[in-house]
């Protein structure tokens, strides 16, 4: 990643090589067909090339905006958004009916979700 590029990275440079696209696909639990691999390689490099323009900005002293409320200086608005931790009452109440939830599962014994075997003996 260049630190002071003023133009998007030229595509020929292939900032992200194919092996890295495949590694990311593995992390994201995605399978990519051969034709998809080439397409994603092209698109990721084009998009990240555009994203590289963010490096034109000096953000050393800029706090990251992790939530909408953190940048609001107006006390009126801040009161609304920055209410601290929003906690509900610690009281027992009904949740969704288990039967109805399990009815939407692909495979279940009615109590648990069933999946293919994880550990081989």
């Amino acid at each position: 990643m260049p630190t002071s590029s003023h133009t998007p990275e030229p595509l020929e440079k292939q900032a992200v090589p194919l092996e890295q696209v495949l590694r990311v696909a593995e992390l994201a639990q995605l399978e990519l067909r051969e034709d998809e691999q080439q397409e994603m390689l092209r698109d990721l490099n084009a998009i990240l090339g555009h994203v590289a323009q963010l490096n034109e900005l000096d953000t050393r002293d800029v706090p990251p905006m992790t939530q909408v409320h953190v940048v609001l200086p107006d006390p009126a608005s801040q009161g609304a958004l920055d209410a601290g931790n929003v906690l509900r009452d610690d009281s027992v109440r009904p949740s969704l009916d288990r039967g109805k939830v399990m009815a939407t599962a692909p495979d279940t014994d009615g109590t648990y979700f069933k999946v293919p075997k994880v550990i081989e003996r």
Binding site: T59, P73, S77, P106
Partner: protein
């Protein structure tokens, strides 16, 4: 409120098209809620084969609700204007919001047979206010797209020009209102997905402030950006709906404890004296000349209505699309991890191990754009790239938001085009994702900053395509945004 003329349906010369007129017609026995719902279903049967706005219809639930409303009307319980403000009003729901027992595909094959066991808070609020919920509306898969061409169930066609896209991702929601297949609809907006399709289809689309409307029951795309809001024919209807939808929800910890005003009543306050900001950055290279002319005419109309116009600067605008596509995809990659074939939706049948099952399920279930965004989001969050991309984008998000906070010390609202062009042709941009993303330039900024906005029709191109003006407002100042949009609407009459 003047009755809007039907565009296409032969039976609808007298069919009410606005919330107030629909409710009035039922309360005064000019029609019944059941007859009104039937009339809208007839229009859907007639129009939708060429538009494809609807993915499923919930006629049983709609009829039950309509019968209930008719009983209440007969017993005089709706005589009070404040009772059930949406009594009998036919409304459609974008398919990323859940309705108990109805399909909720999010435009994806991975949720094809999912029937959620509960109502989203916004759906429950509409029902509690008397709305008749007609069914679920087509959209880009997981709300990822600007043209509705990413729906796994096929694209929506723009009712104003069938060879054009309706915009996205809430394309079905916009098209349904434009084609008189619903009085109003719900959409969602993560980077423009309400305002841009509203602009393309010639209807009103409202983006409420972050936290204003509950997201409980919304299938999440990017949680720091996602909003739920209405599509309507008129600004008044958007105001009426926002009052129903807004408010804190114990089921959504990001919903705000902020008083909900009577937005429709606020429309009676004249706009005279309001300061309207015009940002140069939104009238730069890439803006279609007819869109520019229409928005400049809108500025003149607001001046004629007594507003004052001021140049404002939003200097980081050119970084908005890059910032948005880093943050939105990062959040999406995390949110969409839940689609793994275990608890709901599709499961690949041919896998013998758990990890193969995950991968095949996601491979078969997700479309190309969704995979592209998950990959990009996973990449920018991965070890070694987090600071360079994700944290950097969060910092630029701060700068973009400061731009707005600074501008709003000088003006009450900001006027811009909603989109750089009118609706483009189906297939025109599908080969180049980056080009499609760049067209979101005027809308992603409001999502990043958390502010509210609206798209209101402000004219037509020479080809007869609708053009939308975007009004942006301060956090929780929807009332001002609606008032300015109302003045724009009046100037179009």
């Amino acid at each position: 409120m003047a009755e809007l003329k039907s565009m296409s349906s032969s039976t609808s010369q007298t069919t009410p098209r606005t919330i107030r007129s629909a409710r009035h017609a039922i309360v005064s026995s000019e029609t019944s809620a059941v007859a009104l719902a039937d009339s809208y279903y007839d229009t859907i049967a007639q129009e939708d084969p060429k538009i494809h706005a609807w993915l499923s219809l919930s006629r049983e639930r709609a009829t039950a609700q309509a019968n209930r409303i008719d009983d209440l009307a007969k017993s005089g319980e709706l005589a009070n204007e404040e009772a059930l403000p949406l009594a009998g009003v036919p409304i459609g729901i974008k398919d990323v919001l859940v309705m108990q027992g109805a399909p909720a595909t999010a435009g994806s094959k991975i949720l094809e047979n999912y029937r959620p066991p509960y109502d989203a808070t916004t759906v429950a609020k509409l029902a509690a206010a008397g709305a008749v919920l007609l069914g679920k509306l087509n959209c880009d898969e997981f709300a990822m797209g600007s043209s509705n061409e990413n729906s796994a169930y096929g694209p929506v066609h723009n009712p104003r020009a069938l060879d054009r896209v309706p915009g996205g991702s809430s394309g079905g929601s916009a098209a349904a209102v434009a084609a008189n297949m619903a009085v109003a609809t719900l959409g969602t907006d993560t980077g423009g997905s309400i305002r841009q399709p509203a602009s393309f289809c010639g209807v009103v689309g409202l983006l409420p402030t972050y936290g204003r409307v509950s997201r409980y029951g919304l299938i999440a795309f990017a949680s720091s950006l996602d909003r739920v809001g209405p599509f309507t024919h008129t600004v008044e209807d958007a105001a009426i709906l926002l009052r129903v939808l807004a408010g804190a929800d114990p089921m959504d910890a990001t919903s705000a404890h902020h008083p909900v005003p009577n937005y429709a009543a606020a429309l009676n306050t004249p706009v005279k004296g309001l300061r309207i900001g015009i940002p140069d950055e939104y009238f730069a290279e890439g803006l279609d000349q007819e869109v520019r002319a229409a928005v400049e005419k809108t500025a003149d109309a607001l001046r004629a209505a007594g507003c004052t116009l001021h140049k404002v600067s939003l200097p980081h605008t050119r970084y908005a699309v890059a910032t948005y596509y880093v943050l939105a995809t990062a959040e999406a990659s995390s949110n969409l991890a839940r689609f793994d074939g275990v608890r709901y939706g599709l499961r690949a049948q041919d896998a013998s191990t758990l990890s193969t099952m995950y991968r095949r399920t996601r491979d078969q279930g997700f479309g190309k754009e969704v995979k592209r965004r998950i990959l990009l989001g996973t990449y920018v969050l991965s070890a070694g790239y987090y600071d360079a991309y994700y944290r950097k984008a969060q910092q630029v998000r701060t700068l973009l938001t400061r731009d707005f906070l600074e501008a709003f010390t000088q003006v009450d609202a900001i006027l811009t085009p909603t989109a750089p062009t009118p609706a483009f042709r189906l297939g025109e941009k599908t080969d180049n994702p980056l080009e499609m993303y760049l067209a979101d330039i005027y809308t992603v900024t409001a999502n990043l900053a958390g502010i509210c906005g609206i798209s209101v029709p402000c004219g037509n191109s020479s080809a007869g395509l609708p053009i939308g003006a975007q009004i942006l407002g301060k956090h929780f100042d929807e009332a001002t945004v609606l008032r300015v949009a109302h003045a724009v609407e009046q100037s179009q009459r």
